[in-house]
Each structure stands twice: as C-alpha cells, then as structure tokens.
C-alpha cells in the first residue's frame, strides 16, 4: 500500500482502515507533513458538516403520525397463517417423545391434523381475517377517542373526503350512502378522516358524530378484510355482522369490493343499533322485520 495516496486519508477519517493497514497509515502519518495537512483539512470539513446534525428535524406532526401508525400496525399483526404454524409444529423435534419409539404414530397424527386442517381451513381463515379486522377497527376507534389518531382532513362533505382518499388508498374508495332523517337532517354528521395502516397497506378511517356519540368507520379492500361471524342482519343484498367487543358495538359488511367496520359505543342490541340511524326511515321495516 502506498500510504501517501489521498484516499487513505479519507479511509482513515471514515474508520475504514483496519488491522495492519491502520497501523501502517498511522506510522506513515507521523512522518508525512502533506498527509497530516490533508487530514486536518478534511477533518475540518467533516466537523463543519457534523455541526449541522441532524440535517433536518422531523416535524412533530410526522412523529405523531408515525407513532400512531405504529400503534395501529402493531395491533393488527396477524398470527402466522395456519399452514405456517403446522409447518412450525412439524419442525419441532418429536424424537424425545413417545413418537420417537413409534414414528408411524407421529406421521398418523400429522396426517390427521392435515386432513382436519384442509376441512376447516377456509372457515378458520375467513373467521380469523374477520376477527383481525374487527380488532383493528376497535384499536383504531380507541386510538381516535384517546386523541392518538388526529384526523388528516376535517370535513363534513362526503365528496371532499372521497376526493381526499383518491390515490391514497389501494382501492376504489366509496362511502356508504348517508342516512337522512325525515326532517332532511342527516342521522349523523361526518367529522373527518385519515389514513390508517392495515396489513402493511392503508385503510381509510372516517369519523362521525351523532348527538354525544363518536362513531368511526374503517374501510379496507375485501381482499384483506372480511366481514363474517357475529349476529347476522340482512338488508336487501347486504348482510351486516353485528359484534359486541370490549363494550363497543362493531358492525361489519362487505359491498363493492370493500369491507366496512363501523364502531360505536351505542349500548343497544344489534337491531336497535341499526335502527338508531334507520328509525322512521323508509328502510327501517327491513330491520324491524328481523326482530
């Protein structure tokens, strides 16, 4: 190595010299005025840059957004899919158990698990997806109530919110048609919206106010979110799934390639919960018929 090469000063400053190369350069530096001057000059330049750290400081709002995104994302981590868990179980050593003595029993047990799994996987997977979506909707709603998910757009205009989501979410965003009371007043007032994270992508959160109640609506693609389980209420072509979780009412339904989850703390039954918005309305009979 020619120790007087300019790049050695750079490598030395950047802590990229190791072992014998480092020793050699240090020895060279003690006797080479030119390299010492160059080192001093480059060090001065680096110091100038280092005094400007950090180059930019993330705005407070971005920190809040990231923390909120992490909060929601952590809550919606889905457990490993069943096949993966079965594979993991299969990888676990069986040979220190009684299966080691009778290996055919281990194979029979695995075959049984596999057959049962194949029978129930579609239902299990669908229910698991639905449960995950409900959990996410609940976590998101709680975060919103706690002020940890500030709205990114505040507007009572469905058109403005729809336009805001265009291009931001990986699906064709549509709001459910708003319900209007006989006096032409909407049953609830739209407050605003924001993006939330769901399964590594974005879902839409829209919030509403109704009297003293705050309601949230989570919208995601039906490719990643499923509505199933709970108490089923049919209205026309739609099937609503009513769940009560941790003191909140969650109603999920799918239409037009989207899955919706509405969360509120209205303390009523499934039918009464629907009738809160649909009372005295033309379609209220559809809900009352189920009572």
């Amino acid at each position: 190595m020619n120790a007087c090469e300019e790049h050695n000063v750079q490598l030395y400053l950047d802590n990229e010299l190791r072992g014998q190369e480092l020793e050699d350069f240090r020895a060279h530096l003690s006797g080479c005025v030119a390299c010492r001057e160059q080192l001093e000059e480059q060090q001065e330049f680096s110091d100038l840059l280092h005094r400007s750290r950090p180059l930019y400081t993330a705005p407070h709002e971005l920190r809040t957004r990231v923390m909120a995104a992490q909060h929601v994302s952590v809550s919606d981590q889905t457990p490993d899919p069943l096949p993966k868990r079965v594979l993991r179980l299969m990888k676990q050593p069986l040979w220190n158990t009684k299966f080691a003595v009778y290996p055919w029993r281990a194979l029979a047990a695995i075959a049984l698990v596999f057959v049962l799994g194949m029978m129930f996987i579609p239902t299990i997977a669908s229910n698991a997806r639905a449960a995950t979506y409900i959990d996410t909707a609940l976590t998101t709603h709680r975060s919103y109530l706690d002020g940890r998910l500030p709205l990114e757009i505040e507007s009572d205009s469905p058109e403005a919110v729809t336009a805001w989501f265009a291009g931001k979410v990986p699906f064709d965003f549509r709001l459910p048609s708003s319900q209007v009371l006989p006096n032409d007043q909407p049953a609830y007032r739209q407050v605003g919206a924001r993006l939330v994270n769901y399964k590594g992508s974005y879902a839409a959160l829209i919030t509403y106010a109704m009297k003293n109640e705050r309601i949230s609506l989570l919208v995601a693609s039906n490719k990643s979110a499923t509505a199933s389980g709970g108490e089923e209420i049919r209205s026309g072509a739609l099937t609503f799934h009513y769940h009560t979780e941790a003191g909140f009412n969650v109603i999920t339904w799918s239409t037009h390639g989207l899955t919706y989850a509405q969360v509120s703390s209205v303390h009523t039954s499934a039918h009464q919960s629907c009738l809160v918005c649909h009372q005295n309305m033309a379609d209220s009979r559809k809900f009352q018929e189920h009572q």
């Binding site: 300019e6 790049h7 750079q10 490598l11 950047d14 802590n15 990229e16 480059q42 330049f45 680096s46 100038l48 840059l49 280092h50 005094r51 400007s52 750290r53 950090p54 180059l55 930019y56 400081t57 993330a58 705005p59 709002e61 971005l62 920190r63 957004r65 990231v66 923390m67 995104a69 992490q70 909060h71 994302s73 952590v74 981590q77 994270n197 399964k199 590594g200 992508s201 974005y202």
Partner: protein, 186 residues
C-alpha cells in the same frame, strides 16, 4: 423496533430515534417536505409489515434506510410509467431551500447550518444521499453499499467526488457570507 420471543414486533421509544435521519434522507431524495413526510410514514408502515422477516441480528437502521430508498425509487418508477413527472426525478419541485432575491440579506441571514443544507441540496441526488449517509448518519461503506446496492469501492469513489463538490460549494458560500458580514460591520 425489536421482536418479542414469539416474533411479534414491539415498538420502542428508540424506534423513533431514526426518524430525523430518515426524514433528512427523504428530503435529500425528494426535496419536497410533503413527499418526504409521506415517504417516512410509508417506510415505517412497510417496516412494521416486514418485521417478521427481520433476523434478530439485523442492522435495523440500515434496513430502514434501505426500505425508504427502495420505496422512493419504486414510486418514481411508477410515476415515470404514468408519465406524471419529468424523466429526471430529482428535478422535481424543490421546496426545502429558501431563496431570496437580495443576496446581501440572503447571506447575512443564513446560519452555517442553513448554508450546509443549501449546499447539499445543490448536489446531484447520488452525491446528496451519499453525503447524508456517511457524514450525517455515520454509516460504514459496507452499510452504504448495501443501501445503494453498489460495490463498496463505488461508495468510496463517489463519496470522494461528492465531498470535493460540496467543499467547493460550501467554501464559496461561506466566503461570500464572511465577506458580506465584514462589509456590514464596516
């Protein structure tokens, strides 16, 4: 971020410690505050989604910077395909630099920090990012090579050229600034 024994990601206060670096990198790449903020948020979203694939001994900081860079260049590719931006992505709207028509006021009002920022933003994008990754984030050549997906030798040569260019820009700015200050005092 870290993993619990069952593999679930845990968000720690330390996770946010890279946010200034990521935001700086995002601004250096996009030169647009709004896009930089979205890019940082996207990076965290993708990182959390991919946490399960991260080995316990992985370098989380480098990994986050790699995700940010890949996300940005994927977005650029998509925009180019959609013909939404000019072919040279770095020539997009630059809203991070402050400009003034009056050079006297401009230089007097500039702090050293601001001059450094402005000089860096005048560099080509490959120089901007390598200066940020080495001088501000103190990543090793190998870490930078992984992020940029290039050989370590390329990192060394590009870094040398970037520093030389930045030194020229900064010495001109600082000299002018000193001159203006002296003039103002007299």
């Amino acid at each position: 971020m870290s993993l619990t024994p069952n593999g679930a990601p845990v968000v720690e206060a330390a996770d946010i410690e890279h946010i200034d670096g990521l935001y700086s990198y995002a601004l250096v790449l996009t030169r647009n505050r709004s896009e930089a903020e979205d890019l940082v948020q996207d990076t965290y979203v993708r990182a959390i989604g991919a946490m399960g694939r991260l080995r316990p001994d992985s370098n989380v900081k480098s990994w986050l910077f790699t995700i940010l860079r890949n996300t940005w260049f994927n977005q650029l590719r998509q925009r180019r395909t959609a013909k939404l931006v000019a072919l040279d992505g770095e020539e997009g709207a630059m809203d991070v630099a402050e400009t003034s028509k009056d050079p006297y006021a401009f230089y007097v009002s500039k702090t050293e920090h601001e001059q450094v920022r402005e000089a860096i933003q005048q560099l080509p994008v490959d120089f901007r990012e390598i200066i940020l990754l080495r001088e501000f984030e103190e990543l090793s050549y190998q870490e930078i090579a992984t992020i940029l997906d290039c050989p370590a030798g390329t990192v060394m040569s590009r870094l040398a050229r970037a520093r030389a260019k930045l030194r020229t820009l900064l010495s001109a700015a600082l000299t002018t600034s000193d001159f203006v200050r002296k003039e103002a005092m007299e």
